[in-house]
């Protein structure tokens, strides 16, 4: 038997947990399983349905027949696989070790306070990644160098704008434009300029929402799956707009 007070505390924690996971780019069925697992560890039945920007969650105690429902907004957080892994592991620990709610919350706070990967490190590896991507498409060493530099420019612009909270569509358009503009300098050199230009914007491709969308749809969460895909499509269109701005300026030298 849970008192209303206890049930509210459990629901509040699980709500925070579930919205945090959804905000960090975890697919829906995993969030539901993890939340229900924590619910089971506390002896409470959890049901939740998720939309793009909010969730509806109900905690139900079968013994006292008490039920509480909340509708909560999903925060916009940066995608984090580390939080995904750690918080999924936490839900198993909660079940296997029969942790009390205070302990789960303590561990949760500790896990989400972990520092993220250093932005400078990310910047350099993304540059190298895009350069090797250029190589995979048959680019030569000059093109790789140019792609490396233009990725550094485009990605640092993205990091700076995201830190200042600029609208994310604008962020994608401007970063794609800057990266492709820098890459268009390849036209002055004797190299595979078109490959350089094509690769320069690929670091922006929203891979996580695309794949999560497909997983959700196959899982039967069709509504949120389609929302994710539409979201990803919008971002891809933004990349195309940024790239088009460059192409319109230089199209005559590409033909």
């Amino acid at each position: 038997m849970k008192s209303k007070q206890e049930l509210t505390e459990i629901l509040d924690f699980i709500t925070e947990y579930a919205t945090y996971l959804l905000g960090s780019g975890v697919h829906t069925s995993r969030v539901i399983r993890n939340s229900q697992r924590i619910g089971v560890s506390q002896g409470v039945d959890i049901q939740l349905s998720s939309f793009q920007k909010s969730i509806i969650i109900t905690a139900h105690d079968e013994h006292s027949r008490e039920a509480i429902t909340r509708v909560v907004a999903i925060p916009a957080l940066p995608i984090s696989f580390e939080r995904n892994s750690d918080l999924s592991a936490l839900s198993w620990d909660a079940l296997d070790e029969r942790l009390p709610l205070d302990e789960i919350r303590r561990r949760y706070e500790k896990l989400i306070a972990k520092p993220r990967i250093d932005p400078i490190f990310v910047l350099i590896t993304v540059g190298l990644a895009n350069a090797s991507f250029c190589r995979l498409f048959g680019g030569d060493w000059t093109a790789m160098g140019i792609v490396f530099t233009s990725t550094l420019v485009g990605f640092s612009a993205r990091q700076q704008m995201q830190a200042r909270g600029v609208n994310h569509f604008l962020v994608f358009i401007i970063s794609a434009f800057l990266a492709s503009l820098c890459a268009s300098s390849a036209l002055f050199f004797d190299c595979t300029a078109e490959t350089a230009l094509a690769t320069s914007v690929l670091f922006l491709v929203p891979g996580v929402p695309l794949i999560n969308g497909v997983i959700d749809i196959v899982d039967g969460h069709i509504l949120i799956g389609v929302s994710r895909l539409i979201n990803a499509m919008l971002l891809i269109i933004c990349i195309a707009i940024g790239l088009s701005a460059t192409l319109l300026m230089i199209k005559d030298s590409l033909l």
């Binding site: 750690d86 198993w92 190298l128 895009n130």
Partner: protein
């Protein structure tokens, strides 16, 4: 020479996967396995396409299934869900050149509305490239996701601590 080509393909795919993965903040312990999966997947697709003349969509599907199965197998050791390993590993297989040509031919189509013959040609190129990009991306996502549903019990408990002393 063939072996060197395949190896180089794998190495560059691994670097690409690490970099693109780093954007999504994966746990440090997952990086070696992401790199391995990406290298194996991309090299497999490279072999299928250049030596077995398989088309790009089918080859991507095969590579994605291998990556998916690999992430199921490797996820347990680092307590990571499958998606954490396979999403970064799939990213180097995104058909960037086709996507670029889609955008390029759309722009050229809009620029050549008044030139009858040219416009149709660009429209044709637009649909060709768009079809390839979209089908490759769908194949990648669906192929890697397949193992989750086949081996769901194992896939759902990758982050569970192994039972000790029991």
């Amino acid at each position: 020479m063939i072996a060197v080509d395949i190896l180089l393909d794998g190495v560059f795919a691994a670097i690409a996967a690490i970099g693109f993965g780093a954007i999504s903040d994966p746990p440090m312990r997952a990086f070696p396995r992401i790199a391995l999966l990406a290298a194996v997947g991309h090299a497999l697709r490279f072999c299928l396409m250049s030596y077995a003349s398989v088309d790009i969509a089918t080859a991507s599907l095969c590579a994605a299934v291998v990556i998916g199965l690999g992430s199921l197998w490797l996820g347990r050791g680092v307590r990571c869900p499958m998606t954490v390993l396979y999403i970064p590993a799939l990213l180097p297989m995104i058909p960037g050149i086709y996507a670029y040509k889609t955008v390029f031919s759309l722009i050229m189509f809009l620029q050549s509305l008044n030139v009858p013959g040219e416009g149709v040609q660009y429209m044709q190129q637009f649909f060709l490239n768009a079809t390839v990009s979209v089908s490759v991306i769908i194949m990648l996502a669906a192929g890697a996701t397949l193992p989750i549903f086949i081996f769901s019990r194992r896939a759902f408990s990758l982050t569970r601590r192994r039972k000790q002393n029991q």
